[in-house]
């Protein structure tokens, strides 16, 4: 790789007693990337983040931040990290200004640029109006912002945010997302959340963890490419599987309901051909849509059909096709599950 990774995590494991909380976690993040870390409750997201920030030590594995080994030289490596845990670590009996002053001292911000970076951060996080009120008296949203301010004050290369928009109102959520996107321009960000649209809104890449294992890791661009290769068509009258299969560019036709088919294309799907065929044959077309795998579908399928994933990964040896196939098959599993209910 030509550019050096900002953070490189290799084979990270963490046990709590016998409980294997994080299992073989790998991660490489470059400058200016925003990574979304997804997973259900108890998946190991917070544990992973605590390890990345040196709050707890991994049972095994390596964490290299900006070329510095976190486990060997924790003090040097931590200079490059800003961390907002699930609960913002703020002292309720201080004002935001006092608190940030203290953080600046903890992070060795030189006196000559301290005033400027304080002012900058306060303005960036919209804390100007409340900087002299007690943090205890601030609303949850402002407390969260103080937490974020604390994480970005020292201009770290890597900002790690654990569920930063929990408990905020919709306007504040939008503001925080904008802030994260802005941060993504000159810092790298790792973000954990339960809110899937949030990941789609702000992240470049997504990594899904379930029961300590990474079950999905990809960029959104690739996700879009994969998912756009199939179409779903329904006919209220007519429709024939064999005829559909003859259409140019179609690789496979799958019947998924009464007069409903999923069409797999070799390249980009071309709905116009299907439409033309329907007109020629006199079929009544009632639905024609691209079958995009939303992040939510992927997430649900991965989390709900663990057994399917295992089956699939065992069966498939081609690594490339692996991801796509298990997502799709998993997706079916999820749909079935819903139907059953």
């Amino acid at each position: 790789m030509s550019t050096q990774a900002l953070i490189q995590v290799m084979a990270l494991n963490r046990y709590y007693g016998k409980y294997h909380a994080v299992n073989d976690f790998n991660l490489t993040l470059h400058k200016g990337e925003v990574l979304g870390l997804l997973g259900p409750n108890g998946a190991g997201k917070s544990t992973t983040m605590q390890m990345l920030t040196g709050n707890i030590s991994p049972s095994s594995g390596d964490i290299v931040i900006n070329g510095i080994d976190l486990l060997e030289e924790p003090l040097m490596a931590k200079r490059n990290i800003g961390y907002l845990p699930e609960q913002p670590p703020i002292y309720r009996d201080m004002t935001p200004l006092e608190f940030l002053n203290y953080c600046a001292a903890l992070h060795d911000i030189p006196q000559n640029i301290k005033a400027k970076s304080l002012e900058n951060t306060i303005q960036r996080c919209g804390l100007g109006d409340v900087q002299n009120k007690l943090i205890a008296n601030l609303s949850k949203g402002y407390q969260q912002r103080v937490g974020i301010a604390q994480a970005i004050l020292h201009q770290p290369e890597l900002v790690i945010l654990d569920e930063p928009t929990v408990g905020l109102d919709p306007i504040q959520i939008t503001q925080i997302r904008e802030l994260i996107r802005e941060l993504g321009k000159d810092h790298s960000v790792i973000l954990s959340t339960h809110i899937l649209p949030e990941v789609q809104a702000v992240c470049d890449r997504v990594q899904i963890i379930n029961q300590g294992k990474t079950v999905f890791a990809d960029s959104f661009e690739q996700l879009a490419e994969q998912s756009a290769s199939s179409l779903i068509v329904s006919f209220s009258d007519g429709g024939d599987k064999d005829d559909l299969a003859k259409v140019e560019g179609i690789e496979k036709v799958e019947s998924i309901g009464a007069n409903q088919y999923r069409l797999y294309f070799k390249q980009q799907p071309d709905p116009s051909r299907i439409f033309k065929l329907a007109v020629e044959q006199g079929w009544v077309l009632s639905e024609l849509k691209t079958d995009s795998q939303t992040l939510e579908q992927i997430f649900m399928s991965l989390i709900h059909s663990d057994t399917l994933i295992v089956d699939d990964t065992d069966a498939n040896t081609e690594t490339d096709a692996n991801t796509i196939k298990y997502i799709k098959k998993g997706g079916d599993g999820y749909n079935k599950g819903v139907d059953d209910e």
């Binding site: 709050n55 931590k78 703020i90 953080c103």
Partner: protein
């Protein structure tokens, strides 16, 4: 070391952001002042008449000032645990310890910073108590050496309380548990002294282990380096244990 002082300054300031430090100082001062008044009245009314005919009578410092510091030490058995309970336990409970743990600061710096803040508070407390004997200079001459060693002894005693409390606070995530266990430990050391010096079952080892046995010579005006060393070892021991505990938390917590 710089960082430790940064933490100490902030911790000390935060102590006074809450009413706790203010009320502790106020109530202590009030109670000790009452005791002080009692000692003076006793001296004027009873002791002075008794000692008037003695060849080499104990001075006013011995009769008024020493018991004042002794009582201060006894009362602080209950007060210091209240001051130390919050240090780590409360931070754990509020999940604010993360701030320090993810900053580029070592565990030793965190512990030293927290300890310095407590020492600063203790220094303030001892100074306020020392104001009382100083008030006596209006009417009499004091044995300055004895006043100084008493104040120093109290300072060392309370610092050792603080170190022990700090460690027990680092073990718990509930301030009350930390306070109760620190109080228990301090009281245990007092009981060691009492049992060691009891009439029929005295034990030099118990007396030596107890922190009060090393405090009493200071009150009599003796400055013994072995007593000083006892307190230093006591303090360093518990601070090291606290640092170890914080480091261990990363591995096991």
């Amino acid at each position: 070391m710089n960082k430790a002082f940064t933490i100490a300054r902030s911790e000390f300031k935060r102590l006074f952001n809450s009413p706790l430090a203010w009320s502790v100082l106020a109530i202590l001062q009030f109670i000790l002042a009452l005791l002080f008044l009692m000692f003076i009245e006793e001296y004027i009314g009873v002791v002075q008449a008794l000692t008037a005919t003695m060849d080499n009578p104990p001075g006013v410092t011995k009769i008024i000032v020493s018991p004042l510091y002794l009582w201060a030490g006894i009362i602080m058995l209950a007060v210091i645990p209240i001051m130390t309970m919050r240090v780590f336990a409360e931070e754990r409970m509020n999940k604010t310890l993360t701030l320090l743990l993810s900053s580029p600061i070592s565990s030793a710096q965190i512990v030293m910073g927290k300890f310095f803040a407590l020492v600063l508070f203790i220094l303030l407390l001892v100074l306020m108590i020392t104001c009382m004997p100083l008030a006596l200079t209006l009417g009499t001459n004091l044995d300055w050496g004895m006043v100084f060693t008493s104040a120093l002894g109290l300072f060392l005693l309370l610092s050792s309380f603080a170190a022990a409390g700090l460690y027990l606070s680092s073990l718990s995530s509930q301030p009350i548990i930390a306070a109760v266990s620190s109080f228990g430990l301090l009281l245990f050391l007092v009981v060691l002294y009492l049992s060691g010096s009891s009439q029929n079952n005295s034990s030099e080892v118990f007396i030596y282990l107890s922190h009060f046995s090393h405090f009493l010579p200071f009150l009599d005006g003796f400055f013994d380096t072995s007593d000083l060393l006892y307190y230093l070892l006591f303090i360093v021991g518990f601070l090291v244990l606290t640092i170890r505990k914080l480091d261990n938390d990363r591995l096991l917590g």
